[in-house]
Subunit: 322 residues, 2 copies
Amino acid sequence: MKTILTGLAALALAIPAHAQEQAATAPSPNEIVAAAAPDEWVRIAPEDLLVMTLAPDADGNARQVVIQLMPPPFSQGWVHNIRLFARSGWYDGISVNRVQDNYVVQWGDPNYDNPEATGAVKPLPEGLKVMGESDYKTNIIGDDLLKRSRMPDPYAGWTTFIEGWPVGAEIKTVHTRDYEAWPVHCYGMVGVGRNYSPDTGSGAELYTVIGHAPRHLDRNIALVGRVIEGMEHLSSLPRGKGELGFYADFEKDKRTPILSVRVASDIAQFPQPTFEYLNTESESFARYAAARANRRDAFFIVPAGGADICNIPVPVRRVVSE
Amino acid sequence: MKTILTGLAALALAIPAHAQEQAATAPSPNEIVAAAAPDEWVRIAPEDLLVMTLAPDADGNARQVVIQLMPPPFSQGWVHNIRLFARSGWYDGISVNRVQDNYVVQWGDPNYDNPEATGAVKPLPEGLKVMGESDYKTNIIGDDLLKRSRMPDPYAGWTTFIEGWPVGAEIKTVHTRDYEAWPVHCYGMVGVGRNYSPDTGSGAELYTVIGHAPRHLDRNIALVGRVIEGMEHLSSLPRGKGELGFYADFEKDKRTPILSVRVASDIAQFPQPTFEYLNTESESFARYAAARANRRDAFFIVPAGGADICNIPVPVRRVVSE
């Protein structure tokens, strides 16, 4: 087995020889992650992985996006629906219909809710759960959240990590230790498109964040997962010229077809895609988060003294069998 | 004269008829900006506008990016250099060499500091200022900063807006009211690539932020401006497969040529591009910022209660002459 680390690097040009010889004063966040012990990594259940295959790009290159679905207690009704959409083949043949710069990429049925549509709307599968606004957040009772390291946050409440996910939280009742917690809109997080409240969306329309964290959406839209591989296939798509970044009628050939979406545990082909995340309660994660907030590796002069939760992306790596 | 507003919109599908009839409970941030009085807008000096023309895209469409340079007191040595690079034609014929997902797009001389380069490094023009690490921030003395609305910030110090720019600030000496202030790394901000400290870069290599605000770079790299039009031509470029998102040797045809960079005041063609920003000390900006932090327009259920400075982009609009 070997592992490949994704993401995360410092801003520098190609490093000249004299700089490479300069000793770093402290390990970088990447070096801390690379040195994490094997038992600090947590395997992601194959049932929680979606493999989305886009049509090949203009040069014929394959494009695959892997999404990690959220574990309990968050958004499980929508996660149920999303597995149902995937397993019934409903997502096969839909497309990316919206790319709004510094905001979201959104995919779904191109004929749904589209005044310019010429085709029929795809009927939804049986067995979908109907979710409500109260499901955007979760009640958690106990001392557990109190023990975690909390980060100050310009938005309501405070932020922390729960089982590998960035969340906001707020105490509701002090004497019962009753909290509300909710996932937050960081880069690459995947959510459920909806119309005006009280509609909360079924999971037929999904989006991912491709810009600065739109945290005002927290507790207003359901988050169900995050892109853990192939994000660049979505974030580099041409921006739509229609309202809200939808592809306008004159450019509908820019819609990227989605050939298939599969739950990884249903894929017969060996090896199934396998991923791990760095346990957010591990010693290495704590050191990594502290280093993100206070960069002391060679490139840096002034450590920031803090970081917002979306600038501490949870390390995820693909496990490659040999 | 008429004006076109750029950017900023809510996450929604195409809006169905019944929802359009639903009255919004409060104006949206966009509606507040659209209703701002003409004298709340500030004309950007043509001397502070750079027009960067990229090679046409694969379909032959023109690609133009407009950058607003920072006014005093920030980063003026680098801004001097950048005008010098532009006016001497040095930037003409360089290319976009690095696109790292959720981080930066960087452009400069493709042969500089590139171990795989086959061409010669372009000699720098005469008259460049040599900048130091102390120039990443600015001393501001007086009561002025104290009077502004400050926002709490997970990073060091606090944040506010000065003359249309998002800045971090920190008090240095209480009795003299001596502050340090520095521009912050929001989406679309433009900075000066550098190697290891004490090098601070000349302005020959520039980058812009295409992901979540990398605020750990504040006070570690010089910020000199922001992209105010055509950001999508940079943010949607294919990500590089080399280290740090540089285009690797095998994909160097992906480098986007930069045909020219001109200071707007030097452009003979009429009309010169003209832009305005919403005065960050205006009443409308205060209402806009409050609405960004507490969305109460129709789509929203729970107002956030706050926002980080990079989630309050300063409205900028092109002024179109008729």
